[in-house]
Symmetry: C2
Subunit: 230 residues, 2 copies
């Protein structure tokens, strides 16, 4: 069934955004009475019916609602250096959303080749993935943040990990760590610099390994998302 | 460092294939004395030196060899229905190779939209991924096989699993199953048909779940590869 994003939904009726209205009426040719699904990105999944199939503002009426739909037990926040090839980073955004994640922070590191990223584009990719995999919760996506600013953040009681491949620093296997509520930093191709790893450890991050395989940045991100949920 | 594929390497010297010779000399402009790495796909990683940088047949001389490089403890064989969008399937081939897998069988199922697949293209994608992630072992990739033929295969002592989303059949969480040596079947979008699931169970396959998230075929394949290694 078709899924629409209704972030600020309240009450029984909702007018879809101009973009989604066009999609609903022009592309999907939805008619009055057709059933659709709505997600608000905050955990609610709605069953609804098209009431006025207008291209300017398609009106839908809520029939039923399911709260905390697909609520996850843990909390995963991945901070990752966007790849030079943006497709690979967007692929990470899509797959992490599909597998399950609460927050993503694009990270600017010493070895980052990509130093700019379009926030709206990231949100588009995440929303499309959330619709496709029927996620009522949308992961938050921050703007690009400097490594040193990120490690200084207050993450409350969450466990903080930095995934790297530098054997000069002690590491634990991520699968053996407490992963219920955690932050995981993933570096660019070329890994984090020794100075970054050192500063992260000093800031209270624990070094982790994601296994013996040599992984690309975006693959490491997806592997971390899967292992966090195991 | 540049990596070349030398499947039938024996002894100290090797002449690269026409394609790799062109790549080495024309594209990479390698000269006599340049260091390269060689993988034979059967577990050996070689350090070598370019001796004759010929475009027709670039001669390299082995300096040292490491046997059973990156040998995995377990054995994973995934049989998966190729996706309608071939990019998504090739993405699975790339990521599964990167993460680690021994064998892949493209599966023809009741709900398969794609009924043809190019073997040589699959091998190309796997080889590229193996080079990129420095894998001395190349996963085997079979030709497209019918579901009913596959479940009748003799898999020796390996555990056999079928991942599906049909709540009418009992399932176990894959992460709680014995995954040291296993076969995992992944269906097409639209899942395996109830008849297929029934026949697989009768053939001795155990139904598994890859978690609560609704996953695309290629994502399910990658998740299975990660969980198998955890």
């Amino acid at each position: 069934m078709t899924i629409f994003y209704t972030p600020d939904i309240e009450g029984e009726k909702y007018i879809l955004s101009a973009e989604e209205s066009r999609h609903a009426v022009q592309v999907l040719r939805l008619c009055a009475g057709d059933r659709v699904q709505l997600i608000d990105g905050r955990g609610s999944l709605y069953e609804a019916i098209v009431e006025e199939p207008s291209q300017r503002g398609c009106v839908v009426r809520v029939v039923s609602v399911e709260r905390e739909y697909g609520k996850r037990l843990g909390y995963l926040h991945i901070a990752i250096a966007p790849t030079k090839n943006i497709d690979r980073f967007e692929w990470f955004l899509e797959k992490a959303t599909e597998i399950g994640i609460e927050r993503i922070t694009p990270l600017l590191t010493d070895h980052s080749e990509r130093k700019i990223i379009k926030d709206d584009r990231c949100e588009k990719v995440i929303l499309a993935a959330a619709k496709q995999s029927l996620k009522a919760y949308l992961p938050d996506c921050d703007s690009l943040e400097k490594f040193d600013d990120f490690i200084k953040r207050d993450f409350g009681g969450a466990h903080r990990y930095i995934a790297h491949c530098n054997n000069d620093f002690p590491r634990r296997e991520f699968k053996d760590c407490d992963r219920r509520e955690c932050i995981v930093m993933i570096g660019a191709e070329g890994d984090f610099s020794p100075k970054e790893i050192d500063r992260a450890y000093q800031a209270g991050f624990t070094g982790i390994s994601l296994g013996t395989a040599r992984l690309r940045t975006e693959t490491a991100g997806v592997v971390a998302a899967v292992v966090a949920g195991v």
